[in-house]
Structure formats: structure tokens, C-alpha cells
Symmetry: C2
Subunit: 205 residues, 2 copies
């Protein structure tokens, strides 16, 4: 792309570093910002810098939070002996939306991925093991993505937990609600047969 302005080129370049944003989309977004009031654009830009500079993480679950202990961890009605292990804040929000989980979360901050240079030391696994070691936890539920990296991370943590007397489970894999069998992939369909449920369980929720 040939830009008629260096300032424009720079803004488009910065936008196109975002995931899933190509040069054309970046240009569209930048031109939209250009049409707005200066005050408006300054607010946009400040919101981003304020977040990056002022970001805090809950010291208990490592979720993004404005307080030292997040609202979930501080809630006395939640069962702090059950931990749901998730990758990031989006997964916390997704599980919370189901309203089916009343325990607490532990946000890893990613999954083990040698391809992207992410090892166990980059994730908040140590603090998870400390919680387990302190006897605070009775049950751990893995809710990581069903990918090679997610499974590797599950297995890594599972091995570390072997010597503790706690329940460890993963969220169920299977045919999604509303999905047709003929379009399901073989692995998912195969697993859903192996891990079939007593009919009474399946209709409970």
C-alpha cells in the first residue's frame, strides 16, 4: 500500500499488528477514528494506555482485577475448595455465564506451547501447586482448550498433582447442544461414545 501521509501509514501499521486485523481493515478503522472529534480519539487512546499501565491481577486467582483480591475470590458464598483451571479472563467469563460453577478460578495466563516459546515457568502453575500444598483445595477441574497445547498443560499439571489426595477432572468433551452427528469429527464422536453418560444424568441439567 502506498500512503500519502506518514502519520496515516504509522497508525495503520500499528493497528495491523493486532491479531486478525489486516492492512485494509486497519485503514478502515483508522479512517473511522479520523472522522471523530479529537476529544473522542484522545479518550480511546487513553483508555488503552490507562489499562496497560494500571492493570492489576488478583493475587489469588491471577484474573484481571482492579482490586488486590477480585470480586469472585472475595465472595464468601463461593466454594474455595473447588478450583477451575482456565487459560485467561475470557474463559472465566465464559464459565461464569453458564451459572453452573460455584467454586473459584485459577487463571494460568496461557497454555504450554513450545512452538510459541511458552513453558510451564511462564504460567501461574507454581502458585496453583502452593494452594494445593496448603490443603486449601479438594477438587480441580481443568477447563482448558481442547487442543494439543491444552492437553499438554492438563497432563503436566496432572502429573504434579499425583501425590495429593484431591479429585481431578476435566470438563466433558462431546457433541455440542444442537449439533448433528454426521457433521461431528471422529475424535469428538468417538470420545462421546466412550464417555457416555447414564441417561438420568444427561437429562438432569
Amino acid at each position: 500500500m502506498n500512503f500519502s501521509s506518514k502519520l496515516l501509514e504509522k497508525a495503520v501499521e500499528e493497528f495491523s499488528k493486532l491479531p486478525g486485523i489486516g492492512k485494509k481493515t486497519a485503514l478502515r478503522l483508522v479512517l473511522n477514528l479520523l472522522k471523530r472529534e479529537k476529544e473522542d480519539v484522545r479518550r480511546f487512546s487513553n483508555a488503552i494506555v490507562d489499562l496497560r499501565e494500571g492493570i492489576q491481577y488478583c493475587t489469588k486467582c491471577h484474573n484481571i482485577s482492579d482490586l488486590e483480591i477480585c470480586q469472585l475470590c472475595a465472595n464468601p458464598n463461593r466454594d474455595d475448595s473447588v478450583l477451575c483451571i482456565v487459560e485467561d479472563i475470557r474463559d472465566v467469563m465464559a464459565v461464569e455465564n453458564t451459572q453452573q460453577f460455584k467454586g473459584l478460578y485459577h487463571v494460568l495466563g496461557g497454555v504450554i506451547s513450545p512452538m510459541e516459546g511458552v513453558g510451564p515457568q511462564h504460567l501461574s502453575i507454581d502458585s496453583l501447586l502452593r494452594k494445593v500444598d496448603n490443603g486449601e483445595v479438594n477438587e480441580i477441574i481443568f477447563a482448558l482448550s481442547s487442543t494439543m497445547e491444552g492437553d499438554t498443560t492438563n497432563f503436566y499439571i496432572f502429573k504434579k498433582l499425583k501425590n495429593y489426595d484431591i479429585k481431578v477432572s476435566t470438563i466433558a468433551r462431546g457433541i455440542a447442544f444442537g449439533d448433528e452427528l454426521e457433521y461431528a469429527d471422529e475424535i469428538t464422536l468417538g470420545r462421546s461414545i466412550v464417555n457416555r453418560l447414564p441417561y438420568e444424568n444427561a437429562i438432569k441439567s
Copy 2:
């Protein structure tokens, strides 16, 4: 969406004001920025503010430019008696990419759209008419979008040009290169028959 942090919520809200960016995408983009170095995020934010505060438009063609007269208008090899009327900078870039146009541009800054409250007075139509009145222009080519608003704008300007002795044309509408006839819409196919070309012309370019 329930956010665990006000700062996060604000940043996501600002991002989701951009066209085509919903809340989920906004959250993904914001989390990507969060993972970057502070320096990086400041550069992103500065690029946007710098553009908005420092933006300049070419005084001749109204295109975005860092100079008073843009590189295209300042180029002595271009024919300044032929003007291509476009909506915004993206269209200038699109036409320039074809390398088929050697005249100059006139950027309207939009199209007449009563629905969005854009009238002729919001567009740079007056300065176009001044150029024509000064006798600088021999030919005008409309290259606006093939929409109701684009056609309205074409017609509005066309009427204003009636008393001047200049050539006025619009870019050709027709079946796109590589398109199959059976998938073309009726209006386009109909027009492409009415406005058929002598075969010798069609194979020239």
C-alpha cells in the same frame, strides 16, 4: 458481559465503537495489547493521537497528506485537466493501484446521504466547482460507489456542471473480470448489455 475490571471494561468499550468490531473481538484485541510491552502500547496509542491531531489535507485535492500540496497534485507529469472524483483516500489508493489513470483526484470526503445527515454542504463540492469555473478542468470522471448515495452524488454534481463545456463520464459498470454470468445480478448484467463495447475496445487494455 461482566468485566472484573473497570479499566478493562472501558478499553473494550472504546474498541467496540470501531466499525465491525463487536464486544468479543474488542476483548480479544485488548487482551493482545495487554500482553505487550508498555512501550509498545504507548507507541500504538501515540500513533493514533498524532494522526488525529496532526492530520492535514491537500489544499488542492483534499486527500490526506503531510504536505500542503500532496505528492500526486505536485507531480508535474500528471494531467491536471482531468479530475477523478472519489469518496475518500481508499478510493484514491484503489485507482492508483490500477496504474491506468494519469490525471488528478478530487476527494469529496463522502457521498450525499440524507439517512446519515450528510448533505452537499458537508462535501468538498464547492471547491470542485471553483476548479471547473476557473477553466482548469477539461474532463471529469466520477468514480463513486455504485450505490443509491453514490448515484445521487454523481447526479447532484452533474447538474451543477451542466453549463460548462467539459466532458463528464463515470467509470464503467459491468461484469467483473473472472466473474461468471450466472452469478451476476440482473441490473449489472442488464447495464453491461446496454453499454456493450466494440470488441476492439474491450481487448485493448
